[in-house]
């Protein structure tokens, strides 16, 4: 399953843990998955699957990022994602330090460019960025000579989340081709949904988006179906179905998204109560899917709002696996960009 992967039809793409890092995509940055071919996604997932075994041995450390300084630059709080990246980087041998905007000169009005150039001057080779602003990682690549990894930018993308979600699903299903995956919740504001749409459709899945009309992005189905999958030219399959019972028909997977309470204040929803009544993932709704669908949630969960506690803690829930797979996925992602950087000590 090495040189011939790229000749396979998408239907045949399935998980094979990969011992060699020689087949990772050659990419300098990881910003989003819109331009990834199905083969690149599969290569990364195969490597991430192998990283799970590496992680099983707590004393084992890889050397890919030895001599590199990775800085997590988080403009939005997220302890779990930051820790996940930090662990991944350290497992690859990198030095890691963290910068949270709230505790930095950003509060004194320092611009993104100045912050990034300062970190560069301090020797950072890799910036792992989370921002409330869509496009922040793209802007950073204009001023930063090293590698940029998107840990979530505004509503736009969260590629490592999408990759760990795909890994989690491939560990259960093997191939995702023709799988029916429903994403329920506030799609409009969701970077997790957007990145997942790219990778899931690239791997041949059908994605159904289920959200209240006010939380459905404009022209969303069209936006994705009009952009063929790179490498194969296949059309992405994305549809919108606002009624959850209809959306769940035939679903293999349901991904519930967190609902922010602020959406009600912004006039987008009449009440959280109505949202839960119409879109909450209850065991009753879940059992409309036959055989019973598996459940994903990017976390943190609002139990009782978008997902019922009994669903979240049921045998169908893959939430804990998602978290575990997160470190392995981020290891593969950081290894990919580490390899693209060339040898330590060379100017980029």
């Amino acid at each position: 399953m090495t040189e011939t992967l790229e000749t396979l039809a998408t239907e045949k793409l399935a998980l094979f843990p990969e011992e060699s890092n020689a087949h990772l995509p050659h990419r300098r940055h990881l910003i989003d998955l819109d331009d990834w071919t199905p083969y690149e996604v599969q290569r990364l997932l195969d490597r991430a699957a192998y990283m799970r075994d590496v992680l099983a041995d707590p004393t084992r450390r890889l050397e890919t990022l030895r001599g590199r300084l990775a800085v997590t630059l988080f403009y939005e709080n997220s302890t779990r994602t930051r820790i996940s990246f930090e662990l991944a980087a350290k497992k690859l041998g990198a030095d890691v330090t963290n910068m949270t905007a709230a505790a930095s000169s950003v509060t004194k009005g320092e611009s993104l460019r100045d912050t990034v150039e300062t970190l560069q001057a301090l020797g950072a080779n890799i910036l792992i960025v989370r921002s409330s602003q869509s496009g922040a990682p793209d802007v950073i690549t204009r001023y930063f000579r090293g590698a940029v990894v998107n840990a979530g930018d505004g509503w736009r993308g969260h590629p490592t989340q999408a990759l760990l979600d795909a890994l989690t699903l491939q560990l259960r299903f093997g191939t995702l081709a023709n799988r029916h995956i429903v994403i329920v919740g506030d799609i409009l504001h969701s970077r997790v949904a957007r990145s997942n749409i790219w990778s899931l459709t690239a791997l041949g899945a059908e994605v159904v988006l289920c959200a209240p009309p006010t939380l459905t992005p404009p022209n969303v189905a069209d936006a994705y179906t009009s952009r063929p999958v790179p490498g194969t030219g296949a059309q992405r399959r994305v549809t919108v179905e606002p009624r959850i019972e209809r959306a769940l028909e035939g679903a293999d997977v349901v991904m519930a998204l967190r609902l922010q309470r602020e959406r009600q204040q912004a006039g987008l929803l009449p009440s959280l109560r109505e949202y839960t009544m119409r879109y909450g993932l209850t065991m009753e709704r879940l059992q409309l899917t036959k055989p019973c669908a598996l459940v994903l949630h990017p976390g943190p969960m609002n139990e009782g709002i978008e997902i019922d506690p009994d669903v979240a803690h049921s045998a169908y829930s893959l939430v804990e696996e998602q978290v575990t797979n997160g470190v392995a996925t981020r290891m593969a992602a950081l290894e990919m960009i580490g390899l693209a950087m060339g040898t330590v000590g060379t100017a980029q």
């Binding site: 611009s111 869509s134 496009g135 922040a136 802007v139 736009r156 404009p218 022209n219 936006a223």
Partner: protein
């Protein structure tokens, strides 16, 4: 001081105000146009010959200047909508740098918006601007605010501002959201004979949108600005015009629905005029994603035989208010220009500092620095047969002048000798670092355009000469 009269001869003189388009000449004396006319065969036309003869008789023979073949003479352009940023935001632009940029773009008369600091809502500030513009490289006609401080709450002293030299009223940068105040403004301004200029934006519908609401905004995860945010406000305004009969001018329209509303309003005989910007005619929301589609991209692809390279994603130089729209909107704007629904092309020149435009898309300022690329970008449509040259020049000269009753945009004998000479075929690459404007914020950086201003004349003096510039 009297300088020698000049005879400028060209293979193409285009002056829509006199229905001229062909080989011809212009005679300039004492800062004014003495004569202007098309050639008669290989001879100068009768008006021009007569004027030259008269000058000879007066002992002041004209010096002849034959322009290189292909160069065009037209009246200096009139821009109804610019931001000179002074007073208050001199880091972005000053009246001096802004007028220098205007001259470089062929604009000889420019109307500056009042959203300065302080706002142009008093005689004192208006007179400051007029004073600062004395001796500048373009004529500056100030637009005064509709409301004090553009606060949308109280009318400014419109009568005094009109007397002091305002040519129109606007709260540009923002709409007049309060319908009652807009009605009072229209009523109050009517006897002053000056138009009310509206920036059509329903603030609630638009919210903190940063680009056009559509498939691209969805993919980029950016908050969208629905087309209805413009049309809803325009529709409200047109109803108020209907009931007050005051003169109204719609600034920078960007969507097909807005063009349709203006068309219907004109059909009903309402005293309405409208403008569009070069960027709304030529660019699309896809440029925000780095995908260069739309009329300019199509025209340049046709001219050069190769597509434009992709641009940067989330380039804040594409961020503008109203936002870049879809190709269908561009087509509707062009149709509106061609059928007369749109009266004027105005740049909405909006310079910003580099810092204001280098950060995250959501944080960046809105605006495009447009003077120095306007003509060349628009000529792409002329070169590919999408827009006749005469229609383009008219939209930059006689039609805006007529819309606001201004003395500009014409080479009629007696008019000030404000003209532009351009080479429609010269190719050059847009390099904002070489702009005269302090604002380097253009989405066209690095793009090769075909068409270049060679000289701009103001009152018979050359205020810009490409031969001297870098």
């Amino acid at each position: 001081m009297t300088t020698q009269p000049i005879l400028l001869r060209s293979a193409r003189v285009v002056d829509p105000s006199q229905a001229l388009d062909g080989p011809g000449a212009v005679v300039i004396a004492d800062g004014r146009v003495l004569a202007c006319g098309l050639a008669a065969g290989s001879e100068l036309g009768p008006n021009v010959s007569q004027a030259l003869a008269q000058l000879e008789a007066d002992g002041r023979p004209a010096r002849t200047r034959d322009l290189p073949p292909g160069w065009v003479i037209a009246p200096g352009f009139l821009d109804l909508h610019v931001h000179l940023r002074e007073p208050g935001f001199e880091a972005k632009e000053t009246i001096a740098s802004g007028t220098a940029a205007a001259a470089r773009g062929g604009f000889t008369t420019i109307c500056c918006m009042p959203n300065t600091q302080p706002v142009i809502d008093s005689r004192a500030t208006l007179e400051y601007v007029l004073h600062a513009a004395k001796g500048a490289l373009a004529r500056v006609l100030p637009i005064a605010a509709i409301s004090k401080g553009e606060n949308g709450a109280e009318l400014s002293e419109m009568a005094e501002l009109a007397e002091a030299g305002a040519v129109a009223f606007s709260d540009d940068g923002r709409p007049v959201s309060n319908s009652r105040l807009m009605r009072h403004a229209l009523d109050y301004a009517a006897p002053l004979g000056l138009p009310i200029v509206e920036h059509c934006q329903d603030a609630e519908l638009v919210g903190d949108g940063v680009m056009h609401e559509g498939a691209i905004s969805t993919l980029l995860g950016l908050k969208g600005w629905p087309a209805a945010g413009e049309t809803a406000m325009l529709a409200r305004d047109l109803e108020l015009v209907r009931s007050t009969g005051a003169r109204y001018h719609a600034a920078h329209l960007s969507v097909a629905g807005a063009i349709e509303l203006v068309r219907a309003a004109k059909r009903d005989g309402l005293p309405v005029s409208a403008e569009v910007t070069p960027h709304h005619l030529l660019l699309t929301d896809a440029w925000v994603a780095g995908e260069r589609t739309g009329p300019l991209a199509d025209a340049l692809t046709e001219l050069y035989g190769e597509p434009l390279p992709a641009g940067p994603r989330y380039d804040a130089n594409t961020k503008v208010n109203p936002p870049l729209r879809t190709a269908a909107d561009c087509a509707a704007l062009l149709a509106g220009l061609r059928d007369g629904t749109i009266d004027a092309i105005a740049t909405d020149h909006a310079p910003h500092t580099v810092v204001d435009k280098e950060g995250e898309y959501g944080e960046a300022a809105f605006g495009i620095s447009g003077f120095e690329t306007a003509l060349a970008a628009l000529l792409a449509l002329v070169h590919t047969g999408k827009l006749p040259m005469a229609t383009l020049i008219a939209a930059l000269t006689v039609r805006p002048a007529a819309a606001w009753n201004l003395n500009a945009g014409t080479l009629t004998p007696g008019a000030l000798a404000d003209l532009v000479i351009f080479d429609p075929d010269e190719e050059w690459t847009v390099d904002p670092a070489h702009f005269a404007s302090k604002g380097q914020n253009t989405p066209l950086a690095g793009i090769r355009l075909r068409g270049r201003v060679r000289q701009t004349w103001l009152g018979g003096q050359i205020v810009y000469d490409a031969a001297n510039a870098s």
